[in-house]
């Protein structure tokens, strides 16, 4: 059974381009130009993954509303924001709405496909038992490469896919300094320095929610970041 991906995007050219690419990859693609027809279709039948733009036609934040409604329908459905907006504010807002990832539109299709397949993999494997090969353990840190989940002190840390990749990249070689470029490459992100910084800050906060004494992600000023062993 092929997976269904819903694209909600008001620009017909991008919508069709993405739809074409995804179809070529063997996904079933349903494309919607606005929030209302998309929501009506979702109520009939949920897609396996939703790719949503924030600005939908006249609705400036239509994508946020759609994400919230969709999350209400299904708590596990992978949702990716794909948008032209790149401000911290929008990123944080999007992720808070329950999206699994937040991508800007200048991401290459190659990267986009990788994200999509990773998300599918994570949702597929959430149920199945973990195999030892796919587990990276550093002291109290457990990184499950299959499910894209991270636990600290046995407690799950709710990371986005981007953040997951960053944690993975840092924790793989503890003590080694990863510079921003390396992190960007590992997280398959094309964003600027300050976005990396805000990602790191968010990651730290998420770990701190689990363990208030967490201090493993270390800033090496001017160079990058490292996982303190």
């Amino acid at each position: 059974m092929s997976r269904t991906i819903a694209i909600v995007e008001d620009d017909p050219l991008i919508r069709e381009n993405y739809a074409d690419v995804l179809r070529r990859q063997g996904y079933d693609v349903n494309a919607y130009p606005a929030r209302k027809p998309a929501m009506e279709a979702f109520k009939q039948r949920l897609p396996n993954l939703a790719l949503i733009d924030i600005g939908l036609g006249d609705e400036m934040d239509g994508g946020f509303a759609l994400c919230r409604d969709l999350r209400a329908l299904s708590p596990t459905l992978p949702i990716i924001f794909l948008t032209a907006r790149d401000s911290d504010f929008d990123t944080v807002a999007g992720l808070r709405m329950g999206a699994d990832d937040y991508l800007t539109k200048d991401i290459s299709l190659h990267h986009l496909l990788a994200r999509i397949s990773a998300l599918f993999r994570r949702s597929d494997l959430l149920a199945s038992p973990p195999s030892q090969d796919d587990i990276l353990e550093r002291d109290q840190l457990r990184v499950d490469m299959k499910r894209f989940t991270v636990t600290w002190l046995e407690k799950a840390v709710d990371l986005t896919l981007t953040e997951f990749w960053m944690v993975h990249a840092l924790a793989k070689f503890p003590g080694h300094v990863k510079d921003r470029d390396q992190l960007m490459r590992d997280a398959e992100l094309t964003v600027d320095d300050s976005t990396i910084t805000s990602h790191i800050k968010r990651m730290r906060k998420k770990f701190l929610e689990v363990d208030s004494a967490f201090d493993r992600i270390d800033t090496v000023y001017g160079i990058g970041y490292r996982w303190k062993a």
Binding site: D11, D86, T104, D106, S194, Y221, G222
Partner: protein, 711 residues
């Protein structure tokens, strides 16, 4: 500003308020008019007074020309003028000279050896008589036993008629004594002498005889007088007695002053002085005085304290000024005519010519102005004399001064109050304008960016309008500036969608099987779109930084560590470039965002790397004091163009040559540096190195926390 006005609105309004001085001036003119009118009235009134007195004196010839002739009853007259100066009773004629008294000569045609001249005058309450007797042989009482009949003597008869006549005999004693005796007629018609001192006399021997002065009190002068000079010539063989005098018939004594005085007293006027002069100007009589008593203080003793206080204040201030400016009419003045014996002048001349005349004159000490009005006195068709009435203008002057004082008091109050109100008003206006100016000046910073908006005033007037216009102007300007600053991020945002279209299209295309040469072009298009993408990211970097600064969290960190870490990174990135780092010994604690400091340093070092001369080092230095730290990033290379130094930290300003490299430079690097420095309450500046070989980027940062305490 071409026109340099040395004073502000307050000064100008003050100048304009000088117009208020027109009020006292107009009032002053008006009062002068009134004064002039009053003077004319006074002139007429005084002329009227003179006329009335003159009328009473018309055709009374004996008052004016009694020197010879007789009165209406036919009796002969003795005319005694009022003397100007007192006579000292010493027999000396000196004090008669200059008194302008006519002398009458009595002589006997039969005896040329014996004659006399007689003069008479009145002074005070006495009648003075002077006899200058020509006598070759003066016989006087040499010894006590000398018989009076054997000495030269003078008989004076006083009285209205024969009945009540009193006779006195004045015999020469040892000079200057004169024995004065009353001659009483006994029942048997024999003469009896009785010493009587009511008549005083003195005699003196002269060259051709002797002279005798006699003083008679007016009260014993009955109205008529007769005199008989008896000359005794004692020779060995015979004694001869010569009589010379008024004879049997008594002379009517006329003292014109006395009679006219009586008339004048009847017409007396308080402040006027009236003179009557004869036809050549000699004063016959005078009544009244021009000097008036000083007015008493006009403050009642029982006035309330504040009134007294106000008057005291007034006396101490304004009254002083007024008394300097205006002649006080209450002061005594020097009157040159006080004791005059003759009058002259325009008015008197006119009267002598038969016409009424008036004249204004100033007293010699400038103390008062005296108005004279003269009227002729007619005797028949001749001018026998004149009445001159005089009055000072002091009454009018006092009136005028009082009016002027009131005017100036009121005007001073109005001026003071008016000026004060105008000053307050101008102060308020200028304060508002200055406030507006300050707001306008503070609205823009030194770089021309809008810092704060002018708050529109709610006042309804023009200044309020101006303030509101300013406010609106700045709001629009701020909107426009905001639009420009947002431009980069808007553009990048708007471009992102079409770029996504192109990129996704290219990605789609690559997944098709393409001819080799087509794949080449697809690759090139891909590279182009990548570069465009980087440019867009850079464009939005500054905006994103501004946004993140608003939410940035501050922490306490050691600036030395950040610099050390960064430099280590730069050394690894640029292994061929020598990078010097100088840090202070002690840790430099500051409160801020270390990530941002690192980002700032990235930009500065990036610039230094790009602009440095080939092979030359980059020097980074941190100097810290208690309150501030200074980071200097120094590189060798070409100097800064002076005209752009101020602008380099603004958005979209770049010194880099326009070249089609893969790095996109939008001139946002130093703008980001400035934003971060300002976030840390610091400043950023670029300057040429003192040695002229390169450029220093200097970032000054505050080491204090937000409460201005050291960290």
């Amino acid at each position: 500003m071409k026109l340099h006005i040395p004073f502000g609105i307050r000064g100008q309004v003050f100048l304009v308020s000088l117009v208020l001085f027109a009020i006292p001036w107009v009032g002053y003119r008006y009062i002068l008019e009134v004064e002039n009118f009053l003077r004319q009235g006074q002139e007429r009134t005084l002329a009227g007074t003179a006329q009335a007195i003159a009328t009473a004196l018309h055709d009374r010839q004996q008052l004016f020309e009694p020197i010879s002739g007789s009165d209406r009853n036919g009796s002969r007259l003795l005319y005694a003028r009022t003397l100007a100066k007192p006579i000292s009773l010493d027999g000396d004629v000196a004090d008669w000279r200059g008194q302008n008294v006519k002398s009458l000569l009595y002589q006997d045609s039969t005896n040329e050896q014996f004659s006399f001249t007689q003069q008479a005058g009145k002074f005070d309450q006495f009648l003075y008589l002077l006899f200058e007797v020509r006598d070759s042989d003066v016989a006087y009482i040499r010894r006590a036993e000398t018989e009076i009949d054997q000495t030269d003597h003078l008989d004076i008869t006083l009285g209205r008629g024969e009945a009540d006549a009193m006779r006195f005999r004045l015999a020469l004693a040892r000079a200057p004594q004169v024995q004065t005796m009353r001659v009483l007629i006994s029942d048997d018609a024999s003469e009896r002498l009785e010493t009587d001192t009511r008549i005083q006399a003195a005699w003196k021997k002269a060259k051709s005889g002797y002279q005798i002065e006699i003083r008679l009190p007016l009260e014993i002068l009955g109205g008529k007088v007769g005199f008989d000079v008896v000359n005794i010539t004692n020779s060995a063989e015979l004694q001869s007695v010569d009589h010379l005098g008024s004879g049997k018939e008594l002379l009517s004594v006329v003292i014109p002053g006395l009679e006219i005085d009586a008339i004048l007293r009847g017409t007396g006027r308080g402040n006027a002085r009236v003179w009557v002069v004869d036809h050549v100007g000699r004063v016959l009589a005078r009544n009244g005085s021009l000097q008036i008593a000083a007015p008493k203080s006009d403050t009642p003793a029982n006035a309330s304290w504040y009134k007294r206080w106000a008057r005291k204040l007034h006396a101490a201030t304004l009254r002083q000024i007024y008394s300097r400016l205006m002649k006080s009419p209450s002061k005594p003045f020097v009157d040159d005519l006080e004791n005059a014996t003759e009058l002259e002048g325009k008015a008197v001349e006119a009267a002598f010519n038969g016409a009424a005349g008036t004249q204004w004159r100033m007293t010699p000490d400038q103390g008062a102005i005296i108005l004279s009005a003269a009227q002729p006195i007619w005797v028949g068709d001749r001018v026998a004399g004149a009445v001159v009435a005089e009055e000072t203008t002091n009454e009018i002057l006092a009136l005028r001064n009082k009016a002027l004082e009131r005017l100036f008091n009121v005007a001073s109050a109005v001026l003071l109050l008016g000026s004060l109100i105008l000053l307050l008003f101008a102060t308020r206006i200028s304060k508002r304008i200055r406030l507006l100016r300050d707001q306008a000046e503070q609205a823009l910073d030194s770089k021309g960016r809008i810092k704060s908006l002018v708050e529109g005033s709610s006042a309804k007037d023009e200044i309020g309008d101006l303030s509101r216009s300013f406010s609106e102007l700045l709001t629009r300007l701020a909107d426009y500036n905001g639009y420009l600053e947002q431009m980069a991020s808007r553009v990048s945002h708007e471009f992102r969608t079409p770029i996504a279209v192109v990129r996704s299209s290219l990605d789609n295309l690559r997944q098709q099987t393409l001819p080799d040469d087509a794949a080449l072009y697809v690759n090139r298009a891909q590279q182009g779109i990548e570069r465009l993408s980087v440019i867009l990211n850079r464009m939005s970097e500054a905006t994103k930084l501004e946004q993140s600064l608003q939410t940035a969290e501050r922490e306490r960190f050691n600036l030395n560590d950040v610099l050390a870490g960064c430099v280590e990174g730069y050394r690894s990135v640029h292994p061929n470039i020598p990078i010097d780092l100088k840090l202070p010994q002690r840790p430099t604690w500051m409160h801020g965002a270390p990530d941002l400091i690192a980002q700032m340093l990235d930009k500065l070092v990036g610039n230094a790397v790009d602009f440095r001369g080939d092979g030359s080092p980059i020097a980074i230095r941190l100097e810290a004091s208690l309150a501030s730290a200074e980071i200097t990033v120094s590189n060798e290379g070409s100097a800064l163009p002076t005209e752009m130094q101020g602008q380099l930290f603004d958005s979209m300003v770049s010194l880099r040559p326009q070249r089609g490299g893969d790095e996109a430079h939008l001139g946002l690097g130093l703008y980001i540096v400035r934003l971060i420095a300002e976030f840390h309450r610091g400043t950023a500046r670029l300057e040429n190195r003192p040695d002229g070989k390169g450029v220093n980027a200097v970032i000054a940062l505050s080491l204090l926390n937000s409460e201005n305490n050291p960290i």
